[in-house]
């Protein structure tokens, strides 16, 4: 038998949600004891009834990946989509990386998914060939049947499983991929599997997971990073009806990594009782060195450092010499504050410690990180942590960091029952891994046409590296490689410098990560240079990009990150960036929409996650300075796109996410504590503030697949400020825009 792998038969619905009779809309896909599927691949199997079971090993947080990767498998399998069932994978190294992050699911697994489909299709064809005693070359998988054209024989996939399961799994080179002309699903607009469930409230998220006998926890965490518990009084908390007990969680040992922060938990028989009990806790903290952290001071420190020479991370020509010789110089500084992810579903997980092992149901982007982090917290092997992945109510990078799962597991061990941890919104905003605040200083020497002959870009920000190394003060290779050291413009003299900065809160990656601040500074500066030269911004950007070429990126003291891809396979290609600029200009009607007072277009173009994106944003600034966005156009070249419908939805969403961070997002700290707490003081774009309509323009391409989920975000903020300048003459150099009076 070749039953090499077999995924969990019951899936998470069966165990986590099936218990209560009142659970509505839950369909238990599997019946215990049913004939198991034949699983010749970790990603794919066929049940005897013919159903193709495709394993989604990446997390569904809204990108559609739980549908889109299976489309690739189904295509090569020649599966009938109606006979496909998606099964969510547990965390397991056998799937390869499951960290649903970095806009890389398609890029990293397109080939593997095709291979899985092609392998199983061949085995079914071989099974049919045996059955009919004909050469396998004459048998062809077609829409869930194997067909023998010569004889007109036809057999369903289900009836071929028995013999197929006795065959050796073909190796690479034995199976062949379908020609593109026969693609059935790849490149087609298909709805995601969960659309129907979501209209009935039937999608099951981490916050919906239940385990029999579980307690609900509400945790009072250290208000300052690194604060230590001095004392607590839980007398009143324990008197609240429904509260069962309290329990402490040990503070993390630096570096904080994805460890639980520590604190005092109130455990109760309902979410409400736990929260009420927590309010009655009296807790005293030793705040430690971060207790004096203050965002105003931090910003001043960052901006001062940005004026000082830093560590050189890219160097072409001689910037100093060019500056000394120049008669026309331009300089500007930019700042972006800390930001919080604020997914609509806050971090949520339920976990049970039993007999030295942990079982958890978690809204996680990274189930293998759950295994590692929980195992480390409990002192067990990661194989002894079973992580079921639920749907995620948004992730944006927050749910790659499983501190909340560690909390649930640690509390379960303490109380001897399964424990559910759900962050309140206040917990979510105050205990995030924040998007870094960043200060950037830019200086350029300009020629007679206003083009830069020399370009200096200093960038200072607390590094995500501080999550893993408490002493880290300089940017990581990946942070510098995000739209900064890979500046694609044709400039003879170019230097990038990184200044050191210490973190005082947890810093983490958020949708588009370091591209956000680098894109804001670079494209704002380009916009300023175009304005200074009195040139059309589209024409100026195209000129700046120079002749069509692949720009070799050679940073100083590190390799160019390039999303861990080679520059031979994924070069920085100015022709592709130009193409999206030209496309978005055409589609937005750029040439005919000249700026008017109070209404204008803005543009920015940026390569990120190996994709090329240009955005044109139209803003209206009314007489009170209120900004609305009637229209956004985004053009993207992401190489081959599997599901154009989901690609469009991701870019529509990116325009809104970009609008939120540009217009209103800001996290600050005072006395070490995060000031913001909920959507009243950490606003995100609501319907009237979001772009009224976003038109997405996909560049048709057979190039290697690149990112979709994140690349739409970076150009939005600088395109908005570009438009605001054109409409008002006001230059916004600091986000969020709401802090600048526009009229």
């Amino acid at each position: 038998m070749n039953r090499i792998e077999r995924v969990s038969r019951r899936g998470f619905l069966g165990t986590a949600f099936g218990a209560g009779a009142l659970v509505l809309g839950v369909q238990i896909n599997e019946v215990e004891g049913a004939t198991p599927a034949w699983m010749p691949s970790v990603y794919l199997g066929i049940e005897p009834n013919g159903t193709a079971v495709i394993v989604a090993h990446r997390s569904e947080m809204g990108t559609g990946i739980r549908t889109v990767l299976p489309m690739v498998v189904a295509d090569e399998l020649e599966a009938d989509w109606k006979k496909v069932r998606i099964e969510q994978a547990l965390g397991d190294v056998k799937y390869g990386s499951q960290n649903t992050d970095g806009s890389c699911s398609i890029r990293d697994f397109y080939d593997a998914m095709r291979a899985a489909g092609a392998t199983v299709r061949l085995m079914l064809e071989q099974s049919a060939a045996k059955k009919w005693n004909v050469p396998v070359s004459e048998c062809k998988g077609q829409n869930h049947f194997v067909v023998h054209a010569k004889s007109g024989k036809k057999a369903g996939y289900g009836e071929l499983v028995k013999v197929a399961s006795t065959l050796p799994v073909p190796k690479k080179g034995e199976w062949t991929l379908k020609p593109e002309s026969e693609f059935r699903y790849i490149g087609k607009e298909m709805p995601t599997m969960e659309q129907g469930d979501h209209t009935r409230g039937a999608g099951k998220f981490g916050i919906d997971a239940k385990m029999p006998g579980m307690l609900y926890a509400s945790i009072e965490r250290p208000p300052v990073l690194g604060a230590k518990l001095k004392s607590f009084d839980d007398t009143a908390a324990k008197q609240v009806k429904g509260v069962v007990r309290t329990a402490t969680i040990d503070a993390f040992k630096p570096p904080h990594n994805f460890q639980a922060l520590g604190g005092v938990a109130v455990l109760a028989d309902s979410t409400w009782a736990a929260a009420q009990g927590r309010k009655k806790l009296k807790v005293e903290w030793d705040l430690g060195p971060n207790g004096s952290f203050d965002s105003a001071k931090d910003k001043a420190e960052i901006m001062a450092k940005a004026m000082q020479p830093g560590k050189v991370v890219r160097n072409i020509g001689d910037v100093d010499k060019a500056f000394a010789a120049a008669t026309n110089l331009h300089e500007a500084s930019y700042y972006i504050p800390l930001l919080s992810h604020a997914p609509m579903e806050p971090p949520a997980a339920v976990a049970e410690w039993k007999d030295g092992k942990v079982v958890t149901y978690a809204a996680t982007q990274n189930p293998q990180a759950v295994q590692e982090s929980v195992a480390s917290a409990m002192g067990i092997k990661k194989e002894d942590v079973t992580c079921h992945v639920t749907l995620l109510g948004g992730g944006f990078g927050r749910k790659s960091k499983p501190d909340y799962v560690c909390e649930a597991a640690m509390l379960s061990k303490t109380v001897g029952k399964p424990v559910k941890v759900v962050f309140s919104r206040e917990d979510d905003i105050k205990f995030d891994f924040y998007h870094a605040n960043a200060g950037m200083y830019m200086k350029a020497a300009l020629d007679e046409k206003g083009r830069p002959t020399a370009w200096l870009h200093r960038s200072v920000f607390p590094s995500i590296g501080s999550t893993f190394d408490a002493t880290a003060e300089y940017g990581q290779e990946f942070e510098m490689g995000m739209g900064w050291v890979d500046l694609p413009y044709a400039i003879a003299n170019h230097r990038a410098e990184n200044g050191p900065h210490k973190n005082h809160v947890r810093i983490g990656w958020m949708r588009a990560v370091a591209h956000i601040y680098h894109a804001f500074a670079i494209h704002s500066f380009v916009d300023e240079l175009a304005a200074k030269a009195g040139r059309d911004r589209v024409e100026y950007i195209l000129d700046l990009l120079g002749p069509d070429r692949k720009v070799p990126i050679e940073p100083v003291g590190m390799k160019y990150w390039n999303n861990d891809q080679g520059q031979d396979t994924y070069p920085v290609d100015t022709a592709r960036l130009k193409r999206v600029v030209e496309l978005v200009a055409e589609k937005s009607g750029w040439a005919n929409k000249k700026p008017q007072k109070g209404r204008a277009l803005g543009i920015a173009a940026h390569r990120s996650f190996l994709s090329y994106v240009a955005a044109v944003v139209e803003v209206v600034v009314d007489e009170r300075g209120r900004v609305t966005i009637p229209r956004v156009d985004i053009a993207i070249d992401a190489g081959r796109i599997i599901n154009p419908e989901r690609a469009k939805s991701q870019l529509e969403g990116a325009a809104v996410f970009g609008t939120s961070l540009a217009m209103m997002g800001e996290i600050t700290a005072a006395d070490g504590r995060i000031v913001q707490s909920n959507f009243n003081n950490y606003p995100v774009a609501r319907m009237p503030e979001a772009p009224l309509v976003t038109h997405v323009h996909l560049v048709p391409s057979n190039a290697l697949p690149a990112g979709i989920g994140e690349p739409g975000v970076p150009p939005i903020a600088p395109a908005i400020t570009s438009a605001i300048f054109a409409a008002t003459g006001k230059r916004v150099r600091e986000l969020p825009i709401r802090k600048t009076k526009l009229v």
């Binding site: 209560g20 009142l22 659970v23 509505l24 809309g25 569904e60 947080m61 809204g62 559609g64 995601t192 659309q195 129907g196 469930d197 979501h198 209209t199 009935r200 409230g201 999608g203 998220f205 916050i207 919906d208 239940k210 609900y216 009806k241 429904g242 309902s270 979410t271 409400w272 604020a342 997914p343 609509m344 579903e345 806050p346 749907l391 995620l392 109510g393 948004g394 759900v422 309140s424 919104r425 419908e645 939805s649 529509e652 969403g653 990116a654 325009a655 809104v656 996410f657 909920n678 959507f679 009243n680 995100v684 774009a685 609501r686 319907m687 009237p688 979001a690 772009p691 009224l692 309509v693």
Partner: protein, 151 residues
């Protein structure tokens, strides 16, 4: 003892009368389609109907729900799919899907009050419902499609 109706069924509750309806629906009745988002009436994820009106169940106490008829997302299309649910699918509105129960419940109340809403009506009615994925333009489109169907 608090008595109320949820999705047509009579219910009794003898717990904390100050407990928000949201947690009764989710923790006690397992109607998990109604979502927690903010706990402060700021995001709309917990929107349900009380006597036909859209309210935020995270800030509505059990005491205030007493004697009322509650409809959750699970009850909205229980007999027959609501035109909004069909329109939502037609437009592939959902990304993560988490806020969509609240969005649909809010939109259902809007269409009941204003069968042919203008863009401004939609903005006013829907601005309390946050979608962090940014599906607003499709929500707007779906509401308009459903309004056509209903009319």
């Amino acid at each position: 003892m608090i008595q109320l109706k949820v999705n047509g069924s009579a219910r009794k509750f003898d717990g904390d009368p100050e407990m928000p309806l949201l947690w009764y629906l989710r923790d006690v009745l397992n109607y998990t389609g109604t979502k927690f988002g903010c706990g402060a009436g700021l995001c709309g994820a917990c929107t349900v109907h009380v006597n036909g009106e859209a309210i935020r169940s995270c800030v509505t106490t059990m005491k205030d729900a007493a004697g009322k008829a509650i409809t959750t997302i699970e009850g909205l299309g229980a007999k027959q799919e609501h035109p909004l649910q069909a329109a939502w699918k037609q437009c592939n509105v959902s990304q993560c899907g988490y806020c969509q129960s609240g969005q649909i419940m809010q939109a259902a109340a809007l269409l009941k009050a204003k069968p042919k809403p203008s863009d401004a009506d939609i903005d006013t009615a829907m601005q309390g419902n946050i979608c962090r994925c940014g599906t607003y333009q499709r929500i707007r489109q779906a509401i308009k499609i459903a309004a056509e169907v209903k009319a």
